[in-house]
């Protein structure tokens, strides 16, 4: 991919948003997934994105990582407007994602999945030795135990698979990490492990993170700020200290009740 002219330092030292999303809409034919989304992400910030199923969280994430293109609206990276043409393009700009479906290939080994489309190569051949070594190192650092990095990922548990997907993104040298339900297949212990990783990234201060999650307690524990996505719009933007699990739960439940009432009225 091309080298980007975008990632320039801000000379005035002002805190600028690494990522701004303005009036993003996404329609699939007659279906509107996102109506008008505005959000911002500061450097080193961890933003929790919550909302009920079908609110458009995953769609938004897929737009931000270049997998899909928005119908309208603009994305600004470090204050410069960008058009994300592809996942590769987004990666070259320092944006990387862990997808809900993990994007792992069952038929490939752990280390080939770890470096999928970012393979270490001594042209023209793959440097399998290097990839094996680094994979072992990454997983050891995270405290993940797997039988062997040579095993096919098909043989691994849900939590192990998720850990590999997260490790892959964390080690991608991304400036912006997008995590779509990274805790979904996790037990309590593994969930804590992922949250620790996010805390570490936060402490390093270089990486900004957007996490989609359903467990509000975990979101509030690790995030600086929370955005609520409802029916294709951001309806709430609070710092984590200003809100609570009860408030977030009530907002989502209230939305559900309102929709139910409307349906009953129209019926």
């Amino acid at each position: 991919m091309t080298t980007d002219p975008v990632r320039t330092e801000q000379p005035d030292g002002q805190v600028t948003d690494v990522l701004r999303v303005e009036h993003i809409a996404k329609r699939y034919g007659a279906v509107t997934a996102l109506i008008d989304v505005n959000l911002h992400l500061a450097k080193g910030e961890v933003l929790g994105l919550i909302g009920d199923n079908g609110a458009g969280k995953s769609t938004l994430l897929k737009i931000l990582c270049g997998f899909q293109q928005p119908t309208s609206g603009r994305i600004l990276l470090d204050g410069h407007e960008i058009t994300l043409k592809s996942v590769d393009h987004a990666r070259s700009l320092g944006i990387d994602a862990v997808y809900q479906d993990l994007a792992l290939v069952n038929q490939l080994s752990v280390y080939h999945n770890m470096f999928l489309n970012r393979e270490k190569v001594r042209w023209p051949l793959l440097s399998n030795k290097t990839m094996r070594r680094l994979t072992r190192q990454y997983l050891d650092e995270m405290g993940v135990k797997i039988p062997s990095v040579d095993a096919d990922v098909a043989a691994l548990s849900g939590g192990q698979r998720q850990a590999i997907a997260v490790a892959r993104s964390v080690h991608s040298d991304a400036k912006i990490l997008l995590l779509d339900e990274p805790l979904a297949a996790m037990g309590v212990k593994e969930g804590a492990m992922i949250l620790d990783i996010v805390q570490d990234l936060k402490r390093s201060g270089d990486v900004s993170v957007i996490i989609i999650a359903h467990n509000y307690a975990q979101v509030l524990e690790v995030c600086d700020r929370v955005n609520l996505l409802q029916q294709g719009r951001i309806t709430l933007d609070r710092t984590a200290s200003e809100t609570s699990v009860t408030e977030l739960t009530n907002l989502v439940v209230a939305e559900y009740r309102k929709a139910l009432e409307e349906r009953q009225r129209s019926a």
Binding site: V87, L104, V105, Q107, L116, D140, K145, V149, A151
Partner: protein
């Protein structure tokens, strides 16, 4: 999983899943058994060896013998074209596609060489190269219909196969052509010498094995066939991989067509459906060699050995003097048995019992 690291990183090369008993003959046999089970190609290799031994013993009892030079040449000349076409089909099958038209590419390519050299006065070697490139163009067209227009490749290549068959008959007026004199010299190295075809097949198998196992292209081909959405999410250009593999298959088919023309000394029209035959044998070789029809896995060496199984069967029947009529019964049975073995072995492997 645990959140602490108890044991040191595993030593490279140590087989996963615990140490294997290595002392004593039983231990060694067990180790060899596990090794064989782990190598997908090994089962086919055993079949090839057993078949050769079988035909060797049977024929040495009679007057003719299976191990004479002429039989080995027959064997390799029968196997080589199947092997080379199968290399392309393996790539396509792994990424979830198939090319049924490659037999017609194979029939058309030597005509292209003939037209270019004899009618358009293209220099000899360039004519051969352009004939192979022409195969790539047919592959590109197959990919365009399949990837860009979204037709299943089974349908696409069924259609393009018929079109090509018609084009061959139309452009050649249904008559054979002779090899252009300008290329008979170089033709020896491509297909006329008795051993040239099998040498090409071995070289190409080695190259494609490396392509599949040791390069990004091969890895991405497996990724596309194993999880197309996941591969796309990881940023792999799925369309590019499929286009490339269709084009490689077309080029391999065209090259084999040129080889066969040199070997037989004539450019044949393969009128009617007979051009399907090399494709079917190539797919059969791929499948016997352990390539999954559903995509995501396959091996080049397996395809090589699969073609060897077919060739040994045919040649063996000839040598021991069995009539050609039941030949295809054995072919079909071989494919079915190989498939059953592959499915069952895959199940055992998936259960992790031999990892």
């Amino acid at each position: 999983m645990s959140d602490t690291i108890q044991d040191a990183p595993r030593v490279a090369g140590e087989p996963p899943g615990g140490p294997v008993a290595r002392n004593g003959i039983t231990g060694r046999l067990r180790g060899a058994g596990i090794f064989l089970m782990k190598q997908r190609e090994a089962t086919v290799f055993v079949v090839v060896v057993l078949l050769i031994l079988y035909f060797g013993v049977i024929s040495s009892a009679g007057r003719s013998t299976f191990f004479t030079k002429i039989d080995l040449i027959n064997l390799t000349q029968y196997a080589a074209p199947i092997i080379i076409i199968a290399l392309g089909e393996v790539l396509l099958l792994i990424c979830g596609e198939i090319d049924l038209s490659v037999g017609f590419t194979y029939a058309f390519a030597p005509f292209m060489m003939h037209f270019m050299i004899d009618y358009w006065h293209v220099p000899g070697i360039l004519g051969i190269i352009l004939a192979v490139v022409f195969g790539g163009v047919i592959g590109w067209i197959n990919a365009f219909f399949t990837v860009t227009l979204g037709l299943p490749s089974f349908v696409t290549t069924l259609g393009t196969g018929f079109v090509l068959a018609g084009l061959i008959l139309t452009t050649s007026h249904g008559t054979q052509a002779s090899i252009p004199p300008a290329v008979t010299g170089i033709g020896h190295w491509i297909g006329t010498y008795a051993w040239s075809e099998i040498v090409w097949a071995v070289i190409l198998t080695a190259l494609f094995h490396m392509l599949l196992r040791r390069t990004r292209w091969g890895l991405h081909t497996i990724a596309v066939g194993g999880n197309a959405l996941g591969a796309a999410e990881a940023g792999i250009n799925v369309a590019r991989i499929k286009y490339g593999n269709f084009m490689l298959t077309g080029m391999l088919g065209a090259f084999v067509g040129v080889q066969i023309a040199f070997q037989t000394g004539i450019i044949d029209t393969f009128s009617g459906g007979s051009a399907y035959q090399p494709m079917f044998y190539a797919v059969a070789a791929a499948v016997i060699g352990g390539t999954a029809m559903l995509g995501g896995s396959g091996t080049m060496i397996g395809a090589f050995l699969g073609a060897a199984v077919l060739a040994v069967l045919v040649d063996g029947f000839n040598v021991i003097g069995i009539s050609a009529y039941p030949e295809q019964i054995y072919f079909g049975a071989a494919i079915l048995i190989a498939m059953i073995a592959n499915v069952q072995l895959a199940r055992v492997r998936a259960a992790g019992r031999i990892r």
